[in-house]
């Protein structure tokens, strides 16, 4: 098992280097040569050159990439063009907010999806099934930033229960978490249902019933654990997406997370911040994916057997 994890960690290195290169290259195209705008129109060619030297813009794309990776390994992502702050520091300052939102979002999503999906599967083709599936379809079809706006309209402006945005304690995170969580819940409800439907016809549930296991335990203990793998897969993918992709909810609710940092930095053409934030986020996402693969092994002994082979 440990060897497997080690192997996977080693395999991450090329992926991360690739990701970093991709982002680096895209941002390079996007940025052009930023020295003109920074130095101003009156700068001489020598001044511009000195500035390039100072900002680490000398050399070909590949040379700069290698230099960037070298610095990255030492934890140096450069400084922002705009604020002159250390990119790593800024990122680390935003990260807890994003993590808080991501975790609460997943709690909302799982808390809604598993009961709904299981009920829908157990009572297939009943009213409960239909209602769950219609809800899931609506959740899946609703753009989450619009849901966020609707929530603000109703719960913040009309009822005044929650703030419209910002980061002031627990109450400000409730609406963003529901906003992002609803769509995920919809997806996970569907996954849970179809995965449970696969399991619910299996012979081993009949064995369990024949043993005298109560129907409740047949579902909760025997069926659910077998249905968990696809659910965990979706969970992992979605958790990754929330880590990097809740830009919209962060924008709607002025939540100072990583996504917002990236969008603002793009607006200001702040290339080191964009590159750094994207690279770090992707690293985080990749680690979450690895974690999911490890969780598989603990849920399903057959997968563990594959890993240790």
């Amino acid at each position: 098992m440990y060897r497997y994890i080690l192997k996977r960690l080693l395999m991450l290195i090329p992926v991360l280097l690739g990701v970093a290169f991709l982002i680096f290259a895209i941002m390079d195209v996007a940025a052009g040569d930023p020295v003109y705008s920074i130095a101003g129109p009156d700068a001489t060619e020598e001044q511009l050159d000195a500035l390039r030297e100072e900002m680490g813009l000398k050399g070909t794309l590949l040379e700069r990439y290698v230099r960037y990776i070298g610095n990255l390994v030492r934890g140096d992502l450069g400084t922002s063009y705009v604020t002159k702050l250390d990119v790593m520091d800024v990122y680390m300052q935003r990260l807890p907010n994003t993590l808080k939102l991501a975790i609460l979002t997943m709690v909302v999503a799982v808390g809604m999806a598993i009961p709904l999906g299981v009920t829908a599967a157990v009572h297939q083709n009943s009213i409960r099934d239909t209602v769950s599936m219609v809800l899931a379809l609506l959740g899946l079809s609703m753009p989450n930033f619009w849901l966020g706006l609707l929530l603000i309209m109703f719960f913040s402006l009309k009822l005044g229960w929650f703030p419209t945005g910002g980061n002031q304690g627990f109450r400000s995170i409730v609406l963003p978490a529901i906003t992002v969580g609803a769509g995920l819940a919809a997806l996970m409800t569907r996954t849970t249902r179809s995965s449970m439907l696969d399991v619910i016809r299996q012979d081993y549930l009949r064995t369990a019933r024949a043993k005298g296991v109560s129907e409740k335990n047949v579902i909760q203990k025997h069926a659910l654990k077998n249905a968990l793998i696809p659910i965990i897969t979706v969970f992992g993918v979605q958790f990754s997406n929330v880590l990097g992709g809740s830009v919209l909810a962060e924008t709607v609710f002025a939540w100072p997370g990583v996504g917002r940092l990236v969008v603002d930095a793009i607006d200001q053409r702040d290339i080191p911040t964009v590159t750094g934030a994207l690279v770090l986020t992707t690293m985080l996402v990749t680690l979450v994916n690895l974690l999911v693969d490890i969780i598989y092994a603990y849920v399903d002994p057959r997968i563990k057997a594959q890993y240790t082979k």
């Binding site: 991709l22 619009w146 992709g245 830009v247 919209l248 793009i266």
Partner: protein, 300 residues
């Protein structure tokens, strides 16, 4: 007992299948699914709206033209969905907006489809180092959250409708590569492929004639559902100000401007969002139905 009835059912199913052409069979399955029919009708209506809206409205006058005297009016008989901060009729803009959303969704998916199918099929068929490289690059693309990916691409290429299509398309390519490669791997070693190779058929023709038809249903389903998510992605980027530039009536950018007036003029936020939801919902309903009809094994 169970095995027996299953066999019987299968026999009956094959009998039925042989009697009708596969298209008729799919249509028959689809017709039984009320949701899919509803979705199909709605999609058709939205496509028609998108096609005829330029005949009804004059872009310069009705869609982009400002009318400050009429600004921020609540929904009324004259302006069904009210007017926006520049006095433009929101109903007209929502209808006209279908053009942008559908165009971006469809073109983006076409981009993803062409790149994804080409790469996926050749990776699966050729194998070896080439396959390895393609799949690792796909992994890299999959590792970057798709919204961030699209944002990065738009910011690199510059803000325009075409670049939005490209960005959303590139961000949704990786799943196609995976799906197609997986189905190619399944049939690649079948004997009829061997046979085709033995009679000297060219690889690209084998892929086109013998391999792709096997996964065409999967590709159609994926594409339909991806158009739905591409429409959401496009709206998201426009909402962030990275999509279709003003004054075009893209639903996402309408939401973005509506947001400034959310306190007192909530209808500005309501209708464009509803339009996105109805469009995506119809595509999802239709796509789900299509999936069930094309792959009865998945149907419950």
């Amino acid at each position: 007992m169970t095995t027996y009835t299953q066999v019987q059912k299968q026999q009956r199913a094959t009998k039925r299948y042989k009697k009708r052409s596969s298209f008729e069979e799919i249509w028959r399955q689809l017709r039984r699914n009320k949701g899919a029919i509803l979705g199909m009708i709605l999609v058709a209506v939205i496509v028609i709206i998108a096609l005829i809206s330029p005949l009804i409205y004059d872009y310069q006058k009705d869609i982009a033209g400002q009318n400050i005297k009429q600004r921020l009016q609540k929904p009324s008989a004259e302006h069904w969905f009210g007017t926006d901060e520049l006095g433009r009729d929101i109903f007209a803009r929502v209808l006209y907006g279908a053009r942008y959303s559908l165009a971006v969704g469809v073109v983006a998916v076409l981009v993803a489809l062409v790149i994804g199918v080409t790469l996926g099929a050749s990776a699966g068929y050729i194998g070896g180092t080439f396959e390895n490289i393609v799949m690792r690059v796909t992994d890299i693309f999959l590792a970057i959250p798709s919204v961030l990916m699209a944002i990065a691409v738009v910011s690199a290429l510059g803000k325009s409708t075409l670049n939005l299509m490209l960005a959303v398309g590139l961000a949704s390519t990786a799943p196609f590569v995976r799906v197609v490669r997986a189905s190619v791997l399944v049939v690649k070693d079948e004997e009829y492929i061997e046979a085709a190779r033995a009679i000297g058929m060219r690889p690209w023709k084998i892929i086109l004639v013998h391999i792709l038809p096997n996964c065409v249903s999967q590709i159609i389903v994926q594409a339909t559902l991806r158009v739905a998510s591409a429409i959401i992605s496009a709206a998201q980027l426009s909402f962030l100000g990275l999509g279709v530039p003003a004054p075009a009536p893209e639903w996402g950018s309408m939401l973005s401007s509506g947001r400034q007036y959310i306190r007192d003029h909530s209808y500005m936020t309501l209708f464009p969002g509803l339009a996105i939801m109805v469009t995506v919902l119809s595509l999802n309903l239709f796509g789900d139905g299509l999936r069930d009809a094309l792959d009865p094994k998945l149907k419950r």
